[in-house]
Subunit: 231 residues, 2 copies
Amino acid sequence: MDEATIELPREEATHLVRVLRLSAGDHVRIFNGRGDEWDARVHETRRDHAVVRLGSRIVPPSEPRTRMTLAAAVLKGDKMDDVVRDAVMLGVAVIQPLVTMHTETSLAILARRQRVARWQRVAVASAKQCGRAVVPEVSPPRPFFDALATVNDAVMLVEPSVAPRALALREVPARASITVFVGPEGGWAEEELTRARESGAMLLTLGAQTLRADAVPLIALTALRVRLEDL
Amino acid sequence: MDEATIELPREEATHLVRVLRLSAGDHVRIFNGRGDEWDARVHETRRDHAVVRLGSRIVPPSEPRTRMTLAAAVLKGDKMDDVVRDAVMLGVAVIQPLVTMHTETSLAILARRQRVARWQRVAVASAKQCGRAVVPEVSPPRPFFDALATVNDAVMLVEPSVAPRALALREVPARASITVFVGPEGGWAEEELTRARESGAMLLTLGAQTLRADAVPLIALTALRVRLEDL
């Protein structure tokens, strides 16, 4: 038993007091986003202020053996929120938003709209919802070519029509880490495919159907986890 | 070359004329929803009327080797539309909507709102979008116990906490057909789990995280297709 008391961050305190309407004595579960989780009781609350007393430590569900980064082109509208939410649920370690040649937004627009902070909040909410004790990092958006150049474990999802000589899932070797590149609604530009091939990225197709851009991350992460025997 | 002319069904004719704004001479692709597909040219159009002349037959992407039925509890709001759309994209042969003990609607309400007709339209739209030449059948909703009793190839998705002795994915044997049962937001009732066990259904968990109900069909169908080496 650890009898430490902890003051919650302001946003979580507000949620606890105003939305969940909890008060002293109520049971909660507390996690630090880095894999630690505890049973706890609310000790005291004020408007935007909450202190909890930690009880026993909980063993959270284990994390995937393969460290997965999702490097995904920013989609239109709010669809990236769903991509972040799903990726957290499927156990990614890092989410790297990308601006590609066919992405219909820019780094400047994403920065002005403070999208990273928003996606980080979505990641926290998703971790809570799916019982995951680790909150993945959402990195600041980067240009595709830049992100591609800094990794040596790239697997790039491509449509069957675009890359007839791409790998099938069973040809992807087991590995300790993997960075999964997923394109936007308009797909990859020819130049991006060429650069990926030259850089040694594995090009991967999943089945013969054209998959919806916002469903590809969920399908690809699931398929890769099954392939790597992690699910 | 097959020089037959075909009059399109009224709904498709309206779409071709009013939404796509095509007219005589334009190229289209025509499929009959049962696996046949052709290149074609528009021959003549009027308001809600379109005749096309069939050209060469196209070889559509192949269908999954394992015949998959998705037996999914009807979700809240319009979420079932997304489930149908995703299931078509992932190659199911049949979609069987279910009313379970924790489903927040009834067979009567679903019938009054003509949900089957709506889901069938969603299925057609999804098949067009993903380039699939087969439109799965959307069956009329059935009670869970009824649907369970009529199949002998049931795989039931359960949360890790509910069924600690459920199978993992690698324990699911290859088979010619599979009916994948997915529960509603509130999960399965104890009685439903018991009945499923007694009937010989395989209970399956996917990973340690709690998955969102509306994401489970996509994740489960992907995982099973990979496991059965179909993707």
